[in-house]
Structure formats: structure tokens, C-alpha cells
């Protein structure tokens, strides 16, 4: 085996061990610890935003600015793709 492969495997193993170790410290699946932010959204989505869909109200109202960023990302990607495939004189 060449040196690069050995280094990569060792490093890979270390990072994998740490990742696997750390995910067991997250709350068990299905039992989130603290939920105050999300409970607030679920409880108030109907009377604050007038929306039945909690996810839509989060996407467009509570975290609407992220969605603007997301739309911008798509716009950026389109501009980038169009620029890369432009015809050069």
C-alpha cells in the first residue's frame, strides 16, 4: 500500500471513532431533550401567522430570512451555470 492510503485509512478511522462516539451522546432517537423553540412554533403558528402548516410558517415566516438566502443560492447557481456555459467570443 502506498503511504497516502495508509495515512488516509488511519485518519479516517480516528475521525470515524470520534463521530460514532459523539452521536451516542446526542439524545436518543425520538426523544429530543429541549424543545422550547419548536413548541413555541407549533403552539403559535396558527394564531401568529395564520398558517396551518407549521413547516411552511417556519420556512417563510419565523425563518424567512434563511429562505431568502436559499432562493439567493439557487439564483447564484443559475447565474454561475449560465456564466460557465456562456459562449466566448
Amino acid at each position: 500500500m502506498e503511504k497516502r492510503t495508509i495515512v488516509a485509512v488511519v485518519v479516517f478511522a480516528i475521525v470515524a471513532v470520534f463521530f460514532f462516539f459523539s452521536i451516542f451522546l446526542i439524545h436518543p432517537f425520538g426523544k429530543p431533550g429541549q424543545v422550547n423553540m419548536d413548541d413555541h412554533i407549533i403552539a403559535n403558528t396558527q394564531n401568529e401567522t395564520g398558517t396551518n402548516n407549521g413547516v411552511t410558517s417556519t420556512v417563510f415566516d419565523y425563518r424567512g430570512f434563511d429562505t431568502l438566502g436559499e432562493a439567493t443560492i439557487l439564483f447564484t447557481a443559475v447565474a454561475g451555470v449560465l456564466m460557465i456555459f456562456r459562449r466566448v467570443k
Binding site: 401568529e48 402548516n53 417563510f60 439557487l74
Partner: protein
């Protein structure tokens, strides 16, 4: 990619309106049922991608060019940010939901708890859904179209 066989074209002819309607439904009912601007836009754009596959990108390019599509995308983006800025004008904060609870357009508040689907709710959210829908349809379609065209043309940069 050039056009495909007649069977494919016919089936796409049937499937395309269905996809279109489903996607527009998902966009319009984003505030009531699962879905929204992004999801519906992605569905419509995949319908458009089907057209590109069946008819070939050159044929599609003759119908609509990428400049017009990117104009649509700009309009969608400007619409989205305009709704957000209207929030700044009417309720003094960027992204303010100024229509919610005002009983105007989309302004009614639904009953709390499990309710039926009242389309006239959601404040500015349906407007934003529409703007984002237009933007996502145009954006994803133009990506697919331009890439398909570039891969079908052998030497496009001279």
C-alpha cells in the same frame, strides 16, 4: 440530446400537464398541506425536464431561450424580496407578516387546533410561495436546459 421516439413523446404529452397541475397545486396549497414553493417548483421543473428529455434540448431552445427564463427567475426573486420589503413598509420589520390577521387578502386567521383547509389564510406566506415557486421553476429548468444543450453540442466554445 435529440428527440426520442414517438411513444415517449406521447406519454410525456399526457404526463406533462398532470405534473404541471400537481406542482401548481402543491405551490398554491403550501400553507395548508405539505408542500410549498420549493417542492412544487421542483415538481414542475422535473416535468419540464421530462420535456427536455423527450423532445431534445434543441427543440426546447427554439421554444424558449435561457434569457427569458432567467428573466422569469429574476422576477420571482424580486417578487419575493418585494413582499419582504412590503413587510418593512407596513409593519416596520423586514419579513414582517403584515397580512396575517388583517382580514384582507389571505388575511383570515384559522381556528386553533385541527381545522379544515381554508385557502384564505396565511398572510404573506402564499404570496411568498408563489414568488419562490416561479423562481424555482425557472431556475431549475434553466439549469437542466442549459446543461442538456451543452452536453448535446459537441464544440460550443470557440
Amino acid at each position: 440530446m435529440s428527440g426520442m421516439s414517438k411513444i415517449v413523446k406521447t406519454s410525456v404529452n399526457i404526463l406533462f400537464p398532470l405534473t404541471m397541475i400537481f406542482g401548481l397545486y402543491v405551490i398554491a396549497h403550501g400553507h395548508l398541506t405539505p408542500g410549498g414553493g420549493f417542492q412544487g417548483g421542483a415538481i414542475v421543473a422535473s416535468g419540464c425536464a421530462m420535456i427536455v428529455v423527450a423532445y431534445g434540448s434543441k427543440w426546447v431552445f427554439k421554444q424558449i431561450n435561457e434569457k427569458r427564463l432567467s428573466t422569469f427567475e429574476s422576477i420571482g426573486g424580486v417578487g419575493f424580496i418585494t413582499v419582504a420589503l412590503l413587510g418593512l413598509v407596513f409593519s416596520t420589520v423586514f419579513f414582517g407578516n403584515f397580512l396575517a390577521g388583517s382580514n384582507l387578502l389571505f388575511g383570515t386567521t384559522p381556528a386553533t387546533g385541527s381545522t379544515g383547509a381554508d385557502f384564505n389564510t396565511g398572510g404573506v406566506l402564499p404570496l411568498m410561495n408563489f414568488a419562490v415557486g416561479v423562481k424555482v421553476i425557472a431556475g431549475l429548468f434553466v439549469i437542466v436546459l442549459v446543461m442538456a444543450y451543452a452536453s448535446s453540442v459537441k464544440e460550443w466554445d470557440t
